[in-house]
């Protein structure tokens, strides 16, 4: 509510829409549908000086590290200057299609694996098969899911940089005080650890978030219970596996290991302040926690269900569609992607796990905290490459999980309702994206 905005305007309830419409107008006028020309990639750029606009969403503990790498790239390349534009990922996925449609998109960017199909279907990003070939990237150097998710309708759209998963962070001081010597690995040892921590005076050792990353915890445990969130005929996250996962999340609150109604981000802040002993968060927070000086350690999340599984995602480089193809910029962008892919060992310093097996085998993770997480790479699970799945999940599963954890709706009921909606939305998406 911003009252000064309303002085010159009466009864127009289309604030948001107004902005949207301008985008539409801009989109119509840009009208360029020309694909970025794909000439053979030589690996080097010898053309005139270019400036590349590089969009990404590294706002966490990984951000400063990416900035350093960009500076290094700029220092090594006299005729290419990469200017990065970092924004929250949620804003990123909203702005990128708008900017590209308006002909104002970046020259190169990074997005998540589960967004590649959506953006390929929306014609926001262009195929880069030639680049993958020229970089000498092949399927056997990657986890199958990661490699295949970059392909939409037989064309490759993404060059995987890393994989990153959920992990368990724990306060080593609290663990020592409670007499826990090893990180819990399954439901029983996890329960045991919570009990010991509580007995040692840590009243709420494991804060259960209601929002991010609660749905990622739900997906992880659902996969551990051998469930799948999405099938060929729509959403299946209301299966017994999913309900059981959400019931377990709620039980952490009911059993008193977590306060109720944890607000967004406060479980992480509480962990950093030493108010809670365990938190599950992404490995991208490794540097942030290291800097905080908190005595902590990282371990794979325990297997609450039957099978080892953990939610994971992957950052992929892409080239956006351009209104006016500038071959120099395209070539320079490819040089940038190639350089980054080759330096993915260095990127491991950001807390991420390099996507390429060859890089991992060469010792990129030696001595790094996420090395223990990388060992579980075969149990990492990714969302299927279905166009529009990100938006569907945000509107359905995320809210159902929040309701379930807060206890406002029984898990089975909230998931059932959300899954029905998700299935309908997925059918709508199928129709609009042409299957």
């Amino acid at each position: 509510m911003k009252q000064k905005d309303f002085l010159g305007r009466r009864a127009i309830g289309v604030t948001a829409l107004g902005a949207a419409l301008m985008l539409v107008l801009a989109g119509c006028s840009a009208g360029g549908t020309g694909q970025a020309a794909s000439e053979p990639f030589t690996g080097e750029y010898a053309g005139p000086k270019v400036e590349l606009s590089y969009w990404n969403g590294f706002t966490g503990g990984d951000g400063p590290f990416m900035e350093t790498m960009v500076s290094e790239f700029n220092a090594e390349h006299d005729n290419i200057k990469v200017v990065s534009n970092t924004m929250q990922w949620t804003d990123f996925y909203q702005r990128l299609p708008a900017a590209v449609t308006a002909g104002e998109g970046p020259d190169v960017g990074v997005m998540h694996l589960d967004q590649l199909a959506s953006n390929a279907a929306r014609n926001v990003i262009v195929p880069i098969d030639d680049l993958a070939k020229d970089l000498g990237l092949t399927a056997d150097d990657f986890t199958e899911d990661v490699w295949n998710a970059g392909v939409y309708k037989d064309a490759r759209y993404g060059i995987p940089l890393d994989v990153h998963s959920l992990a368990m962070y724990y306060n080593t001081e609290h663990f020592a005080a409670a007499g826990i010597t090893e990180a819990p690995t399954d439901a029983a040892s996890f329960q045991d650890a919570l009990g010991k921590l509580k007995a040692a005076g840590y009243d709420t050792p494991f804060w259960m978030p209601t929002r991010w990353p609660s749905h990622l915890m739900n997906l992880s445990v659902m996969w551990q219970n051998d469930g799948e969130p999405y099938g060929d005929d729509g959403a299946t996250f209301d299966s017994a596996a999913g309900v059981e996962a959400l019931e377990w999340q709620r039980s952490v609150v009911d059993d008193g290991y977590s306060p109720s109604d944890v607000a967004i981000d406060s479980q992480y802040v509480a962990f950093k302040n030493g108010e809670t002993s365990i938190t599950w968060d992404g490995i991208w927070q490794i540097n942030d926690l290291a800097e905080s000086g908190l005595p902590h350690a990282v371990a794979p999340i325990p297997t609450i269900g039957e099978t080892d599984a953990v939610w994971a995602n992957s950052h992929n480089f892409f080239l956006p569609r351009q209104a006016k193809a500038d071959q120099n910029k395209v070539d320079a962008s490819k040089v940038f992607i190639a350089w980054m892919s080759e330096q993915s060992a260095e990127w491991a310093g950001s807390g991420m796990i390099p996507a390429r097996q060859s890089v991992r085998d060469a010792g990129a993770l030696d001595g790094l905290p996420q090395a223990v997480i990388a060992e579980t790479i075969d149990s990492m699970r990714f969302l299927p490459p279905i166009p529009g799945i990100g938006g569907v999940q945000a509107e359905t599963l995320e809210i159902a999980v929040a309701d379930g954890v807060q206890g406002t709706t029984p898990p089975s009921e909230s998931l059932k309702k959300a899954a029905d909606t998700a299935t309908k939305l997925m059918e709508d998406n199928k129709a609009s994206f042409g299957g």
């Binding site: 289309v14 989109g27 014609n123 406060s266």
Partner: protein, 330 residues
């Protein structure tokens, strides 16, 4: 025939008229020498902006609302009234979220508007008295309004956090319940959203009230006192009637601003718990800009617009001036 001739004469006749009129009346000549286009020329800059940012989008919005419109896709099939029908069909995917958000907007408006009308009036009445430090206090009350919605929301999100926030901490020190989930449960979230909004924007309404209070002639108060009216009677019979024109202005803009609330719930509660505090504008922005369903979002906008127009008309009706006695300055 004669009328036709008359009509034809007019254009030339108009040019001749000034010389025919009396030479002394400068005012007359001034207006008549200007062509019919003059007012339009003066209006042009505003009309251009109004046209391109209000009229054209509003008309285009109707067009979009009749399509399944995803601006990133080449095909935007015409669907007729399907977007509107879906909004009114209980089984559809948009029905629940949309009417839930309309309900949230309604709750917020009903709770916040009375407070935003009364509290700033009380503040303005206090601030119109003469006492030491008055200007300083006036600035203090207005200060939050200069902050952006992002600043105040993030600030209060942390202050109000149920587990790590300062508000609950101090409530606890005072011996009050310190476990209220201000941002993650209802109705506490509504208390938080309304409270923060009142704190944030009361300065704006108070300034307008202050201007209005200074417009009421002091003689009226003197006359009332002579008639034996105490402070309360003076307030009822002099202050309130004197503020009536301003009251209608404040009521309308406060109503519209409250009905368009978005930033606070987006940033403080993320629409939660669940989607309870997700307002109509939030839902429209989410549908149109995040999920690219512009057609459906446009239809929602029009339904909301119709509601707001009806409410505005009702407020105008209540505050209608039967006989304007006093010049309105606002």
């Amino acid at each position: 025939m004669s009328t036709k001739v008359g009509e034809r004469v007019l254009p030339t006749g108009r040019a001749r008229r000034p010389s025919a009129s009396e030479p002394g009346t400068r005012k007359n000549r001034g207006t008549q020498q200007q062509g019919k286009a003059t007012p339009w020329l003066f209006l042009a800059p505003y009309l251009l902006l109004f046209g391109s940012f209000v009229i054209i989008p509003a008309v285009l919005g109707v067009w979009i609302s009749l399509h399944s419109w995803d601006y990133t896709l080449p095909n935007k099939p015409f669907v007729g009234l399907d977007n509107y029908i879906a909004l009114f069909s209980p089984g559809s995917t948009v029905f629940g979220p949309f009417w839930g958000s309309m309900r949230a907007t309604g709750i917020f408006t009903v709770l916040s508007v009375p407070l935003l009308l009364i509290v700033p009036l009380a503040v303005a009445l206090l601030m119109s008295r003469k006492f030491p430090g008055r200007d300083f206090l006036r600035a203090i009350y207005f200060a939050p309004y200069v902050l952006g919605v992002a600043v105040i929301s993030v600030l209060w999100r942390y202050l109000l956090d149920n587990n790590i926030g300062l508000v609950n901490h101090y409530l606890g020190l005072l011996g009050l319940p310190d476990d209220t989930a201000w941002t993650t449960s209802t109705p506490a979230a509504w208390v938080a959203l309304v409270g923060v909004t009142v704190w944030w924007t009361l300065g704006f309404n108070a300034v307008i009230y202050l201007a209005g209070l200074q417009d009421i002639p002091i003689e009226l108060y003197e006359a009332a006192r002579v008639d034996g009216a105490g402070p309360w009677m003076q307030f009822l019979n002099v202050t309130l009637p004197g503020l009536k024109p301003i009251l209608s202005f404040i009521t309308i803009i406060t109503l519209l601003a409250s009905a368009n609330m978005f930033g606070q719930s987006y940033l403080m509660t993320q629409g939660g718990p669940g989607r309870e505090t997700r307002t109509a504008i939030y839902q429209i922005a989410d549908t149109g800009l995040r999920n690219f369903q512009m057609g459906s979002a446009a239809a929602m906008s029009y339904v909301l617009t119709i509601f707001l127009m009806a409410i505005s008309a009702f407020v105008f009706y209540i505050f209608r001036e039967k006989q304007p006695k006093k010049e309105v300055r606002s």
